[in-house]
């Protein structure tokens, strides 16, 4: 049976990982390449690199890092951040990315998901949505969660899946950073309307949060987190062992 994926997300700015802490045997915790190698060796099923650089120089540095990572890490690599055009897809796919995640770019350009899926295949296009409850309704936020677009999130995600998004990363702004568990209610609402893989993001604080996620919502395919992995609060190897014990289909390398 297909296994549930555990995905660490690395925010990269000017060539360095933004959050990070000391791991045993890892000399440079803010090197994206070193951290990617570490996670890959410790059981991560996939990695997300998120480029939060604003400058052109930083962008070039980012693609250098991608290329270097692809030389050492042999698990799927998803890249996001600053993807607004098909040229942006091209740029990162040539450097070793397997999937490309779009967020604000898809909001600004309604054809981006469709055009990218047509050119590169649906499996390549990931829709990342930042969603927050406003007066009890799930709304899509843009610009890193700062701006309410006013769009209904469930309709938006449904539309993007129909246009060719092959996976959905649902980031709940309401639970993000709270470390009280994933946003099960929001995830369920999305799982009910799409038949592509859904990746849960925002809210994981401990191992049990992942167990609860997969046990409660069998339709969720993967759990994504950043700081709890980077700060060593959850070790992926421990998490994988706990998943096996809970009877959740899990990959052990």
């Amino acid at each position: 049976m297909i296994t549930k994926r555990i995905i660490p997300c690395l925010d990269v700015k000017n060539g360095r990982v933004v959050k990070g802490t000391n791991f045993e045997g890892l000399s440079d915790v803010s090197s994206p390449i070193e951290l990617a190698k570490y996670y890959s060796a410790n059981g991560a099923d996939e990695l997300v690199f998120y480029d939060i650089t604003a400058s052109a120089e930083g962008r070039e540095l980012f693609t250098d890092i991608l290329r270097e990572t692809a030389k050492h890490v042999f698990i799927p690599l998803t890249v996001g951040g600053g993807i607004n055009t098909l040229d942006d897809f091209d740029r990162v796919l040539k450097c070793g990315a397997d999937k490309v995640s779009v967020n604000s770019g898809a909001i600004k350009n309604p054809n981006l998901v469709h055009d990218a899926a047509k050119k590169y295949g649906k499996q390549c296009v990931v829709l990342s949505a930042d969603v927050k409850r406003v007066d009890g309704i799930f709304r899509v936020f843009a610009k890193g969660g700062r701006e309410n677009t006013g769009m209904d999130a469930i309709e938006w995600i449904k539309k993007c899946a129909a246009n060719g998004a092959g996976e959905i990363v649902l980031n709940s702004i309401d639970t993000d950073g709270v470390k009280g568990g994933f946003d099960l209610e929001m995830l369920e609402a999305v799982c009910n309307v799409v038949d592509v893989p859904v990746i849960a993001s925002g809210g994981a604080g401990k191992i049990e949060d992942f167990i609860t996620l997969f046990n409660t919502l069998p339709k969720v395919d993967a759990g994504l987190a950043a700081s709890i992995f980077h700060f060593g609060e959850v070790k992926i190897s421990d998490l994988k062992n706990a998943m096996v014990q809970a009877g959740i289909p899990t990959r052990k390398d």
Partner: protein, 203 residues
Amino acid sequence: MIAIVDYGVGNLFSVKCSFDAIGAETVITSDADVIHAADRILLPGVGAFENAARKLRESGLDKVIKDEVKSGKPLLGICLGMQLLFDRSFEFGEHEGLGLIPGEIRPIADVVPKGLKIPHIGWNSLSVKDKANPLYKYVKDGDCVYFVHSYYAKTDNKYILAETDYGAPITASAACGNVYGCQFHPEKSGNVGLNILRAFCEV
């Protein structure tokens, strides 16, 4: 030297990197002479069958590959590259493949139970059917590899090297003589995948 066939389909960078990691020499090429001089051939591919099959035909590489295979050179197809090895595909119409492994490419929706997501994306476990095959000498039953596909190879059991379970058995890997194919991506399947590539370098 392994010739990675460049016929304008897919990202060859990761495939090349994975061979680099196991110390195997590769060359990315569309030149018949280079393919002829190589010891092994790797046929990559992502995207749609029809487009890829047409590009192989238009470039004449289909004939080059068939001639090399006839001379006994080992060939490994990955993902769409594996699907191209079969007789034909029913992805958006009916299209002819290279005919190097008997069988045809059908939608996985034909066999998997309703409610399962398509494409089949993610890490799934292998059940090795031909344990004596040299490509699988480093693989154990239950090892996981990374799949991304919506179509599968429907073929006789005798050509199936390994299957995976997605609500129904799906061909994960097939072979016919010196022609091998993996539906999954060995270059994205961690150590298990690298070991399959290593085994290919040793067949």
